[in-house]
Symmetry: C2
Subunit: 161 residues, 2 copies
């Protein structure tokens, strides 16, 4: 299976929780990140715009932090579905939020090429998932990240009504 034959994880977030600035399909200003299950990993591809710049020639680190953040939430959602015996696309995907985000910038990320974001679960419980991620540009890993995702608390969901 590949990105052309599997559904995007974010496409199955419930409508009430699909407004994220980075990956929300219902937010017209969103970056539009889409993450896909690929074996034991989740993968996303994203080409930053010219204005997603830090200094000339390189991608802004806060955008890279955003990409790994949302991709980690999607990876955790897919793992939770898998653990429950379901696949992405079988129904609404569970919504996770970020508790802890640690991004290491190994080298500058060049602007103007497609980036690949990969994530896999390193620890999981009913309530949370820990996700290890990389961002690569032209096959070179430029960023490593570890993100703790937790199930969205009811206190956040209640604000959406």
């Amino acid at each position: 299976m590949n990105e052309s034959t599997t559904p995007a994880i974010q496409d199955f977030y419930p409508d009430d929780f699909a407004h994220c600035f980075c990956c929300g399909r219902l937010n017209p200003s969103s970056h539009g990140l889409k993450s896909f299950v690929e074996g034991e990993e989740a993968v996303a591809h994203f080409t930053p715009a010219a204005y997603h710049i830090s200094v000339p020639g390189f991608v802004y680190g806060g955008l890279l932090a955003s990409l790994v953040d949302c991709h980690a939430m999607a990876t955790a959602a897919a793992a939770a579905e898998h653990a429950a015996g379901r696949r992405i696309g079988d129904g609404p995907a569970p919504r996770f939020v970020t508790a802890d985000l640690h991004v290491v910038y190994l080298k500058p990320t060049p602007l103007g090429v497609e980036l690949e974001i990969r994530g896999h679960i390193t620890e999981r419980s009913e309530r949370k998932g820990v996700v290890a991620l990389t961002v690569s540009a032209a096959g070179v890993v430029t960023v490593r990240a570890d993100v703790v995702a937790v199930r969205m608390p009811e206190s956040m969901g209640q604000r959406s009504s």
Copy 2:
């Protein structure tokens, strides 16, 4: 001294390095973050737009990561100037880039109010600065972060010519 009487740190980044997606005065798509020296700290205020959303009612965590990222670079720049016996506004401010970004989301950050970002140096050398930061909403700290800033390497500057 306060924000109305002190110059913004980012206003003194050299023109070649003032395009950042979060704080670049020469990037029309930038979030427009501006950081100010206030005693031993640097402080910034920012009101997220409606589209800077995670789930309804709350600010997107990747935006919060971006705000602490750029505010940390500004804090490191101000500390470097101070160590050199200069003040922000005396000349071009040194440009730092992010090596390591660690953000802890203590609680959801409400959308629709002005945020306050504070940073102070915890460790400094000629080459780097470690910055501890908080983000507060209506007086409540919702985010803590630690960021390692390093002087922009020549390899990045050379790409700007």
